[in-house]
Amino acid sequence: MSEIWTPPYPEPGSANDAAFIGIGEIPSGVYRERGFMAQIVEASARAIKDAQLSHTDIDQIVLIPCLHGIPDQADLIFSRVAEELGLHGKVKSSVMVHSGGSTSDNATRMAAGLIASGQARNVLVVYSERWGSADLQDMIDMLSVNGIPREWEAPTGLQFNAIGGLITQRYMHQSGSSAEEMAAICVALRDWANLNPNAMYYAKKLTIEKIVNSKMISDPIHAFECPFLADGAGAFVMTSATEAAKKQDAWVRIGGSGGCVSHYAAGQDADLGVLGWVEAAKEAYEAASWGPEDADLGEVYDSYAAVLAIALEGLQISSKGEAAREFHKGRFSPGGEFPLNTNGGLLSAGHTGVGGGTALLIEGIRQLLHRGDDRQVPNARRCIVGGTGGSYMDAQIMMLERATR
């Protein structure tokens, strides 16, 4: 039996404690005229400005991958971003990190590690995705080939809406949640999106009736419960607490993190109604020395309603089996007891591929920096961020804390 290992996290206030100091974002939706690299440069520029840095202060670039095409992904891999930002000859390295929807958490861990170990000073993390403008059948095929075991599960005709259907069926059976209670999850997210000018569905309302009367796509998931593929881009800048204190009154630190890879193949998870959240939460809460009862808000991956409900229960933000009913009662809606996915989440801000999880992370940072405008959670100090990738293969948790000089 392997010994229990408690990682030594940096103490708050230690010199090399990693700090988020700036964010940048452009609106999500269908923006055919916006190019991939143009989106990257614009989001990066906004984040660098927000961090009160100049572009030449960046010495490390960490790239969140795009999924819409190999040529653009190759541009990420081969340092095009460094050159486009005028940082060739200046940055130490430009590197892509990839674990699908949980990339934001893993990229953050990597950036924080580089900062804590003195190997980077100011790290730019950026994503850009063009799913909204891509050919729909191409995207369906991409989401039925990549991440699904070609030898074992592709021969059943599995694709990602079907995985969403399998997880939702299991969750509804275990929790006894009704179709209306599941639909309430999407409605709560839409209500948040209606407060976010960068959200794909900022200007469109959604109701439970509209959802349950939409056509069945992959039972028990209706059309309005499927994520809408979007174009979008976002970025953030990380540095050390020492550097942050030079210019910032407040920044965001990582109180701890936890993670669990529960499967590769959807058919192999021990329980699709549970996934890896329980294990990951145990680790994250121990590392941070605080838990769900201390959190002011959450930003948790939500490409399907049940995926979010299962995560909330594993995180103990909801009690077992009650997440959908709590949504139905308004607990997670604007004005509710626990603000959640305050940008509208992937389901209503737009599913920007790997970027969807990054957008949630950026929203968590935004809230803790108190830059949330109309949707600012008053005096937000602690935020639980949750990510998951592929066929919900992993559960990744970041415990974010507001820090002040």
Binding site: S144, V145, L158, L166, Q169, S218, D219, P220
Partner: protein, 145 residues
């Protein structure tokens, strides 16, 4: 150096054809088999290059009863992959076999042509598709027990 002179590196499964071939061949004959570790007797799905339990590379196959429990299921009604030449709707499920391993499968419709009779955790049994279907798509099919 002639090809024949190249030393053959043997004693392990070398590619996914070797790994998956026996499963598809059994399905074509109407049999359901799973991988079995020759050292610790663990039953393994999906087959691996090494036993997940004891890490042995000595692996064989064993026929299973085909009885199991339906963990969950869905009926895909829109957007089948273009590489998957089957018209929607079709039923997909995850079955946990009585012997332990679980796998993604296709579900037969009932006599009424629908999948409305399925519920999570119900008993199901292996009901092989014909060899022509398996030649196209090597999936295990199950039906309500």
């Amino acid at each position: 150096m002639a090809t024949a002179d190249v030393l053959k590196d043997t004693g392990y499964i070398q590619n996914d054809t070797e790994l998956t071939g026996p499963f598809a061949a059994a399905l074509a004959k109407g049999n359901l088999i799973v991988q079995k570790c020759n050292d610790c007797a663990a039953l393994i799905m999906y087959p691996k290059y090494r036993c997940p339990a004891c890490f042995s590379g000595s692996l064989g196959w064993e026929q299973v009863s085909g009885a199991g429990q339906l963990q969950t299921f869905t009926i895909l009604r829109y957007g089948p992959p273009s590489t998957f030449d089957v018209e929607a709707p079709y039923g997909i499920g995850i079955v946990k076999l009585d012997e332990g391993p679980q796998l993604m499968c296709r579900l037969h419709p009932g006599p009424d042509g629908t999948w409305d009779h399925y519920v999570c955790n119900q008993r199901v049994s292996f009901a092989p598709a014909d060899a022509a279907e398996i030649a196209e798509r090597a999936a295990a099919w199950f039906t309500a027990a």
